[in-house]
Amino acid sequence: MLEIRDLRVSVAGKEILKGLSLTVRPGEVHAIMGPNGSGKSTLSHVLAGRDGYEVTGGTATWHGRDLLALPPEERAWAGVFLGFQYPVEIPGVSNVYLLRAALNAKRRHAGLPEIDAIGFLKLVREKAKLMQMDESFLNRGVNEGFSGGEKKRNEIFQLAVLEPTLALLDETDSGLDIDALKVVASGVNSLRSPERAFVLVTHYQRLLGYIEPDFVHVLAGGRIVRTGDKSLATELEASGYDALRAPAA
C-alpha cells in the first residue's frame, strides 16, 4: 500500500507540492488530474526517485518502507514502475537487452534465478502481442526513432514484462491518436489485478473513457483539492479546472 502524508516538495527553491496526501491500496486505479503546473509530474517523479526534487516535509511509504530513502533502482526492485511522459532514446541498446537486464536485476534482488534466454523470449513475445507490437520492435534500440505513440506503447509493454505492483503512468495519453490510445488503454486494463495498483496522471479526461478509475483526484496548487469517483472526471471535463481553483485557494 502506498501512503503519502503531507508531502512537500521543492524544485530549485520553489515549493511545488504543498502538503499532498494520498492512499493507494493494491488493486485500485487512481487518476490524478489537474491543470498544467499543478505538480502532477512532480509527484510521479518524486515517487520514482528522480534527482532535482527536494523533499522538505512529509512522508511516502510503500508497504511500510520509506520510499523516499531508496535509490531509484531499489524502488524499481520493490515494485514501483514509472511510465514516462517523454521516454528517452538509448541508441544501440536493444529494447530486449534493456528489459532482460532490468528483469534479471529485479529477480536477483528477489533471490530468484535469472531468466534464461528462451524463457525470456517467450515472455516478451507474449507481451508484445498484448500491446500489438511488431516483434521487430524488440530488437530495435530503446525508443530509437520511435514515434510518440510507439514510445508510449513501449512503456506499457515494459510494464507488462516487469510486472510491477505500483504503476505510475505520467501523461501516458498525451500525444496519442485515438487508435494508439485504445491499444494503450486495453494494455493497462489487461494488466489490472488485485495485487497491482495504478496511479494515472493525466491532464485530460479522455483516457478515463477507456480505463475506468476507482478514484479521481484533482491536484491544484500542490494539493489534492477534491476526490471523487469517475463521475468527477466527466464533471471536470465540462466545467474546467478554473471552477475548482477558486474554492481551493
Partner: protein, 481 residues
C-alpha cells in the same frame, strides 16, 4: 533526496587489473641509444648483415628527424637516451618447447588470461607471446605449418625466412616514414611474422600478446603480415603493462600486405597501463600501422579497441592500390582521467572502384582529451572511389573533451565521400530511465556505452568481443555515491 547522487563523474573511475610486475632475472642493456646498441640488438637476434645495415640506415636518418608535434597531445619531452632498448628474461636460448620456458613467464600469461599450454588454450586461436623484447613462445606452430602458414616471432622469421622478410619489410611503412617509425626501424626487438600462402584460409585465429614488464625499457615491436593471393587471415593483438609512476615508450610498426583477392582482418585490444588518476605514469603509445591492398580485390580491415595508454598516437591506415580493393577501420577509443588520445585512420584511394568505411567511436571521461584525426585521399586514378565516415563522440561528465579533425583530399570528380559526425553525452535522463527500470547506475552506464560501441564490437572475433566489452566496463568502473 537521500538517494545516492547520479552524478556521472562519480560513476567514472579507474581500476587497472594487469598492473603487476613479474620478478624475473633479465638481460637488460643500460639506457641509451647508439649504433653500438643497435649492433648489440641485431647480434642478440642473430640477424643477417643486410638487416643490421637496414637498421643503421634508419637510425642515421632518425637522427636528422624531429619529433612530430601536430597532434592534439601534451607531454614532457621524451628522453631517448634514458630508455633501455633491449630487455629479455634470462632463459636457455630459444626454448624448444613450453617445458623449457620459465614457469614464471607461463604464470604471468596465465594471470593475464592467456594460458600458453595448448591444451588449456581456446581451440582455434594460436598465440605468439612477446615479453619485453623477445617472443617467449608461439603456440600451434606445427598445426599451422600443415596448412603452409608461417606464424612465428619476427626474430625467427629474419633467420628462417630472410627472403620473405627482405622482400616485404619496409615496403608498406618505409624506414623513413615518420619519426617513430624510423626509431622503430632502428631498434625494433620482436613482434610477429605471419605468412599465408596462396589460396589458404588460415585455419585458426592468430594472436600476439604483448607484455611490457621491465622498468625503464621501451617496447619496439615489428609485425609483418603477408597474405598471398586468395588467402584469408584474422589476427588479433593484445597488450598490457605493469603499473608504474614513470612513463614508458611503446613505438610499434605494423605492416600488412594483401595481394589479389586476399583478406586481412586485424583486431587490436589495447590495454597498456593508462597512468593513475592524476596522470602519473602510463605508456606512451606511438604506433604506425598501415596495410597495403597491393593488388585487385584485396581487403584490409582494422578493428581497434583502445582503452589503455597515457598517450595514444595511432592511425591504422589502408592504401587501396588494387582496383576494387576495400579498406575498413572500426575503432572504439576510451579515455578516462588524464589520458590523451589522438587517433584515427588514413584511407588512400589509388585504384578504381576502391571502397573504404570508417566508423570511429570515442568515449571520454574524467579530464581526458580525445581527438579523431582522419584522412580520406582520392587520387586522380581512383575512378568511382567511395568512402563513408562516421565519427561519434560520447562524453561522460563536463571536464573531458572530444575533437574531430577530418581531412579530405579528393582529386577525382567521380568519387563519393560521405562524413557524419555526432557528439553526445550520457544524459541524466538516460541514466534515470535505466535505473527506474531496475539497473544500478554503473550497469546503466555500461549498458549505454556498450550500445554506443555496438557497431564496432560486432566486427571483433567473437571471443574477443566479450573481452573488449568487459575491458570497457573496467575502464569506466567507479563507485556510486
Amino acid at each position: 533526496m537521500s538517494a545516492p547522487q547520479t552524478d556521472i563523474e562519480q560513476l567514472v573511475g579507474q581500476r587497472y587489473r594487469h598492473g603487476f610486475v613479474t620478478e624475473i632475472e633479465s638481460d637488460t642493456v643500460p639506457p641509451g641509444l647508439s649504433e653500438d646498441v643497435i649492433r648489440f640488438i641485431s647480434a642478440k637476434k642473430g640477424e643477417p648483415e643486410w638487416l643490421l645495415e637496414w637498421r643503421l640506415k634508419a637510425y642515421r636518418h632518425w637522427l636528422t628527424m624531429r619529433e612530430p608535434n601536430w597532434a592534439k597531445l601534451g607531454y614532457p619531452p621524451i628522453d631517448y637516451q634514458g630508455i633501455s632498448y633491449y630487455s629479455a628474461p634470462k632463459q636457455p636460448s630459444g626454448p624448444k618447447s613450453l617445458d623449457e620456458v620459465d614457469p614464471k613467464l607461463l604464470e604471468t600469461y596465465a594471470k593475464l588470461g592467456i594460458p600458453l599450454h595448448e591444451r588449456a588454450r581456446l581451440a582455434g586461436v594460436a598465440v605468439d607471446a612477446v615479453f619485453d623484447s623477445v617472443s617467449v613462445t608461439t603456440t600451434f606452430k606445427d598445426k599451422l605449418a600443415e596448412a603452409g602458414v608461417i606464424f612465428c616471432s619476427f626474430a625467427e622469421a629474419a633467420r628462417e625466412h630472410p627472403e620473405l622478410v627482405r622482400k616485404y619489410l619496409g615496403s608498406v611503412v618505409p624506414a623513413r616514414d615518420n619519426f617513430f617509425a624510423a626509431l622503430n626501424s632502428a631498434v625494433f626487438t620482436d613482434g610477429s611474422f605471419v605468412y599465408i600462402p596462396e589460396g589458404v584460409r588460415c585455419p585458426m585465429e592468430l594472436s600476439t600478446y604483448f607484455r611490457i614488464n621491465q622498468a625503464k625499457t621501451g617496447q619496439f615491436e615489428r609485425t609483418l603480415i603477408i597474405a598471398e593471393a586468395g588467402s584469408h587471415v584474422s589476427y588479433l593483438e593484445g597488450c598490457t603493462a605493469p603499473q608504474r609512476d614513470e612513463n614508458q615508450l611503446h613505438a610499434a610498426v605494423v605492416e600488412l600486405v594483401a595481394l589479389r583477392n586476399a583478406e586481412i582482418k586485424y583486431s587490436t585490444v589495447q590495454n597498456w597501463y593508462p597512468g593513475d588518476e592524476e596522470g602519473r605514469g602510463g605508456i606512451y603509445n606511438f604506433v604506425t600501422k598501415r596495410g597495403d591492398c597491393r593488388e585487385a580485390n584485396a581487403k584490409i580491415s582494422w578493428t581497434q579497441v583502445e582503452a589503455g595508454s597515457a598517450i595514444t598516437w595511432k592511425y591504422p591506415s589502408c592504401i587501396l592500390r588494387g582496383d576494387n580493393s576495400v579498406g575498413e577501420f572500426y575503432s572504439v577509443a576510451v579515455t578516462n582521467n588524464r589520458q590523451q588520445a589522438d587517433t584515427g585512420t588514413k584511407m588512400i584511394h589509388i585504384g578504381r572502384n576502391t571502397k573504404s568505411t570508417i566508423v570511429s567511436k570515442g568515449i571520454s571521461a574524467g579530464r581526458a582529451q580525445q581527438a579523431y584525426r582522419g584522412l580520406v585521399k582520392v587520387f586522380p586514378t581512383a575512378e568511382n572511389a567511395r568512402n563513408y565516415t562516421q565519427c561519434d563522440s560520447l562524453l561522460l561528465g563536463a571536464t573531458c573533451g572530444a575533437h574531430t579533425f577530418p581531412y579530405m583530399e579528393v582529386k577525382n570528380p567521380s568519387a563519393i565521400v560521405e562524413h557524419e559526425a555526432t557528439t553526445s553525452r550520457i544524459s541524466d535522463d538516460q541514466l534515470f530511465y535505466c535505473r527506474q527500470r531496475g539497473l544500478k547506475a554503473e550497469d546503466a552506464v555500461n549498458l549505454i556505452v556498450n550500445g554506443f560501441c555496438k557497431q564496432v564490437f560486432r566486427e571483433l572475433p567473437m571471443e574477443f568481443a566479450v573481452e573488449a566489452q568487459n575491458l570497457l566496463n573496467v575502464s569506466l568502473e567507479g563507485a556510486v555515491g
